[in-house]
């Protein structure tokens, strides 16, 4: 069996879906594409091992999510430059509903966004989300409940409770 046996099919079947999930969390298509492509590049290097997994997609998704979040932190310091001077970001045309969702998601803490997307979009059970994020299932449930309530509230037009301004931290 060739080392790359099945990789192309796996990539073509999962790439777009995964970009959609990562983009829904980070809110930026370009960052999501970078992260997902990086994850697939890594997967191609270790494909002979990864294809033997029960769920190769879970491995790629975990790498893509972490890559996206790590990359975001690094890039965030240049955000102003990118926003103001860079070429227009490749952002899809969002419907009015999509814009509302984009704004609402952007106001949620990252960890809640992750859980919401993995639960509702990727349709993973709580246990699998907990395994992917390496947190207890109870933590996933808690983030899910809070994220769901906050997101629904914002989409319904209710202003979420403002986080208290602390000294910091």
């Amino acid at each position: 069996m060739r080392d790359s046996e099945g990789f192309d099919e796996f990539y073509l079947a999962c790439y777009q879906r995964l970009v959609g999930q990562v983009a829904a969390v980070v809110g930026d298509l370009g960052d999501a594409e970078d992260a997902v492509q990086e994850a697939f590049v890594r997967a191609s290097r270790h494909w002979s091992r990864i294809r033997a997994y029960d769920l190769p997609l879970a491995w790629v998704r975990r790498v893509a999510f972490r890559e996206a979040l790590s990359g975001l932190r690094r890039r965030r310091r240049r955000l102003a430059l990118l926003v103001r001077l860079g070429p227009p970001p490749a952002v899809p045309e969002l419907s009015a509903d999509g814009v509302d969702m984009h704004r609402a998601m952007a106001r949620l803490p990252l960890r809640q966004r992750q859980v919401l997307v993995l639960f509702y979009v990727a349709e993973l059970p709580v246990e699998d989300i907990a395994a992917q994020l390496r947190v207890p299932a109870g933590t996933v449930k808690s983030r899910l409940a809070r994220g769901r309530a906050a997101l629904a509230g914002m989409l319904d037009g209710r202003d979420p409770a403002q986080a208290k301004e602390t000294h910091h931290g």
Partner: protein
């Protein structure tokens, strides 16, 4: 809102992104994987940037090369005779630190691999401290002797170092590091960054003081001239909200373990902060603020009270660019700031009193 409706709307949102992306051909992805497997050493893309020379209090600039953004970390202190060959260290995005001879204006030697973070310059001792780009949550630091080019590890054993500053009297080092967790192996290692820590090491006694701030990253550090205070930038690790803030920590009264400095600047949702800089010979600490909707500003705070003491809004000739970096000269009488403009152009300005003077014309890096 019903669970099903929420799921439908969230799924539709994600599918909008999915429908807009067309990834590279799978063969191209495999090729990238193969190339990486064969790669032993990262090939450095040479991108020298913003190399400055300073003579008798004046600043002149050479054009930047592709990849640079004109960021400049520090002035070389005065004290040499005009015309005498001297060096200056500059860096930009993906740039390298270079030694430049004033007489020729040409890079004599590259000291570092391509860098992302601005290095720390100990001009008095001719040492540059720079971070490699190995880790997602901070880096390992190295020191390079400008005279010999010799590189040694700095803070050996420390990873995920996010910022570094050496006290003016060189008796203490302050560095910020991330508390991070690694998973995976080989090329598939992923890193989760958690809390931030500020560490001050007393080199005379080899003792450490550590402060922790949860779920945040300390982005920049600067010592006050008398070594009693540290100014630092802080961002929470939640990427959804821009929470850049600048704080001031009084080392004589600060007790750990929780880091709780005095808030200086919180510029708001659409703004970014530049590293705070103490002004030599004064009681001020200056923070740059660059915003999407408002003019960029230089904000001066009293370092004892923390109150805003002055504000300079960049004027019309400067507002087309984005404030990139600020640095004081050794006497504190001149403030250098750099602006990035469209299409890779960069400018350097010197602010003296209330008058800003451009010291480098636009330079089109595409022409290099």
């Amino acid at each position: 809102m019903a669970d099903q409706e929420l799921q439908a709307r969230l799924t539709a949102y994600a599918e909008t992104f999915a429908a807009s992306t067309h990834g590279p051909d799978p063969a191209a992805v495999r090729r990238r994987g193969r190339r990486r497997a064969h790669r032993r050493v990262a090939v450095a893309a040479v991108a020298v940037v913003a190399i400055a020379t300073i003579s008798a209090g004046l600043v002149s600039w050479l054009p930047t090369r592709p990849g640079g953004d004109g960021a400049v970390p520090a002035f070389r202190p005065a004290g040499r005779e005009p015309g005498e060959p001297r060096t200056f260290l500059g860096i930009g995005r993906n740039g390298r630190v270079a030694v430049v001879e004033t007489a020729t204006g040409r890079p004599r030697r590259y000291l570092t691999p391509p860098l992302v973070r601005i290095p720390v310059l100990d001009a008095a001792h001719g040492i540059v401290y720079y971070a490699d780009n190995a880790d997602a949550c901070g880096n390992a630091f190295h020191q390079v002797d400008v005279a010999t080019g010799k590189v040694r590890p700095f803070l050996p054993g420390e990873r995920f170092v996010e910022a570094l500053a050496i006290s003016p009297d060189r008796t203490r080092i302050a560095f910020a590091r991330a508390v991070a967790q690694e998973s995976g192996s080989g090329d598939a290692v992923s890193v989760d960054c958690h809390d931030g820590e500020l560490v001050v090491v007393d080199l005379r006694t080899n003792t450490r003081r550590v402060w922790t701030v949860p779920n945040s990253s300390l982005t920049d550090l600067d010592w006050s001239p008398d070594g009693t205070q540290l100014a630092y930038g802080l961002q929470t690790r939640d990427v959804g909200a821009n929470t850049a803030r600048a704080y001031l920590l009084d080392l004589t009264t600060a007790n750990g373990p929780r880091l709780a400095g005095r808030l200086l600047a919180a510029p708001g949702q659409d703004c970014q902060l530049l590293p705070p800089r103490f002004q030599p010979g004064s009681d001020r600490v200056v923070v740059g603020s660059t915003c999407q909707r408002n003019h960029d500003q230089l904000l001066a705070y009293d370092r004892h009270s923390g109150r805003l003491a002055g504000r300079t809004t960049l004027a019309s000739g400067q507002t087309g660019g984005i404030l990139q970096s600020i640095a004081f000269d050794a006497s504190g009488t001149h403030l250098l700031f750099t602006l990035a403009r469209r299409h890779g152009k960069a400018e350097a300005w010197v602010l003296r009193g209330d008058r800003a003077v451009i010291v480098s014309p636009d330079c089109d890096m595409a022409d290099w």
